[in-house]
Amino acid sequence: VNELPQQLVNGLLLGSMYGLVAIGYTMVYGIVQLINFAHGEIFMTGAFGALTIYVYVLPDGTSMWIALPLMLIGAALVSTTIAVGAERFAYRPLRSAPRLAPLITAIGLSLALQQAVWAWYPEAKSARTFPEIPGGAFEIGSVTIQTGDVFLLIAAPISMAVLAYFVMKTRTGRGMQATAQDPDTAKLMGINTDRIIVVAFALGAIFAAVGGVAYGLKYGQIDFRMGFILGLKAFTAAVLGGIGNIYGAMIGGVVLGIAETLATAYIADIPGMDKFGSQSWADVWAFVLLILVLLFRPQGLLGERVADRA
């Protein structure tokens, strides 16, 4: 059996999730030049928000078709509240401080959010099971797609299209582009940059929330540490695609996901490379790819299109 199509789909799915989270890193960076390391935890709290709706708010046995939209809303509410709160109380007071201060704050916030969920969310000390979309897998040729993956396959491109429309066509979106290019001039032109920054954090959080729900549906479980490694990967994806560029974030995510999957699947088949081929080496190969890309294109894959930065 030729497993390449299946492995490409595996990589595409993993990469789409990286991309959804990477958008939050890249948008915030594009506007305030802050690497928001707590973003992985925004993703994690989104997933827990969705779980809360399903387990503690909705009556038992609610159909997933009714529950899913409500879970998405719950996830987005929790993520956005935390992200906007973080911006208001942790990052805004430090906006004119040296760069390192907000960065350290972000790392602190990341740990604090992990520990808060660990300590206070019921039974979150080990992994919690996440509801799944009922139904069997789809077979398209030799490719199997799980019901949980279908959500990701639909949600990622739709989210991307909505974001592109928002940034390009709406007044607020154009305000974001202007602020990204030059915050001072944007302010002189009458743009409320404080508001724009809040919008950037909120949008990033909504994408992370969608990613969090997708993670739960795909793997059937969530835990308090799920955002840490995934956040680092998403940040890598954002750098790979060109940090500051929203399309770059998605493309970087997909490239990273496919690179990891193909490394797991095929490196071991290269003669003499069987020791370096297993999944435990996939991250190494993904980072080799990152280094190569940054050597030849330090600005990332799509880093040059400054006009699209938002």
Partner: protein
Amino acid sequence: VPRKGLIVRQRSLIAITAALAAGALTLTACGSRDDSAGSDSEGSGGGTTVVIGVDAPLTGDLSALGLGIKNSVDLAAKTANKEKTVEGVTFKVEALDDQAQPSSGQQNATKLVADKDVLGVVGPLNSSVAESMQKVFDDAKLVEVSPANTNPALTQGTDWQKTKTRPYKSYFRTATTDAIQGPFAAQYVYNDAKKKKVFVIDDKKTYGAGLAATFTEEFKKLGGKIAGTEHINPDTKDFSAVATKVKNSGADVVYYGGEYPQAGPLSKQIKAAGAKIPVVGGDGIYSADFIKLAGASGTGDLATSVGAPVEELPSAKEFVANYKAAGYKEAFEAYGGYSYDSAWAIIEAVKKVVEDNNGKLPSDARAKVTAAMQNVSFDGVTGKVSFDEYGDATNKQLTVYSVEKGAWKAVKSGTYTG
């Protein structure tokens, strides 16, 4: 701002960030989260206080097993205090969290050594953590009894397959080793389950890789075929690429050397990829959490675990009843009985030392307790408890369990005789 400057700043920022990210990874690994988790056993028989240290993962993925260990040791200490097993000595438990990290384990070991009242330690859960603790304890002549470590090298040296040499005189264990567990599983899979083509996966940790190796060797010896091997990254939950490889390999069974936080999702994703074949693992996946994480498709998955099922042993009835009566929030899990026996072995050794010294603790109590441990022998929860010349349990029972109707069910008990 000039554009060139922006790029330079951007790059140095990314460099700093990368360094910080690496730092953050290390920090989360070292931070001890629950230092005050030590529970004081009540009851004061007056006289001397002896502390039994516990080191296990009390938080994180493996905490279900770790808390079972902690509670069982606590129960042993309380029982000894109530029954005045050692006249004039009150036992206290000091439990430290290692988060399944070797670095935290070593810090905890140093901490326990520094407390002069600690005369024995039960733990750890993970073989990789034990590796980092053994020398610290041995230098202080402090005895360590693990209820769960199964890596043969811990007691028989890294070259155990050829020449057995015991590296540390202070290390004992009540669990049997992977030198027996892996082959035992291979025999069951090949002879009883009649599976002939296996795909072997491990997590590259001391425990997982060791177990996978002993399984593979015996499986090949029996005439089975290895359809493929893979090492997973325990930090991720995405095993889809591996699952696809398993499906296309044509294997009729998967052996996984590792622990349940990865084994659960792995089993689920292998079945979702279209390979409806059982996943078999060692005692590291024998946990209720495995069943939760593997979901409905986990039915039929198999695990071997040390000893006979505690619930069914006549010798364990009292333990199970007392554990229930003590009202612990968490179940005693896979290692409860072994943890109780490990703690009781320490209590027996202390008793011997105290009785030999006219009812008082000698000044070199640690060395004496370690020496006494070698000859400890009593009827414990899991059967006869005593140690051979390497510090390994003489009890080499193992049991195969299968997931049926959402619970582990014992299928076959026995021992591997080569």
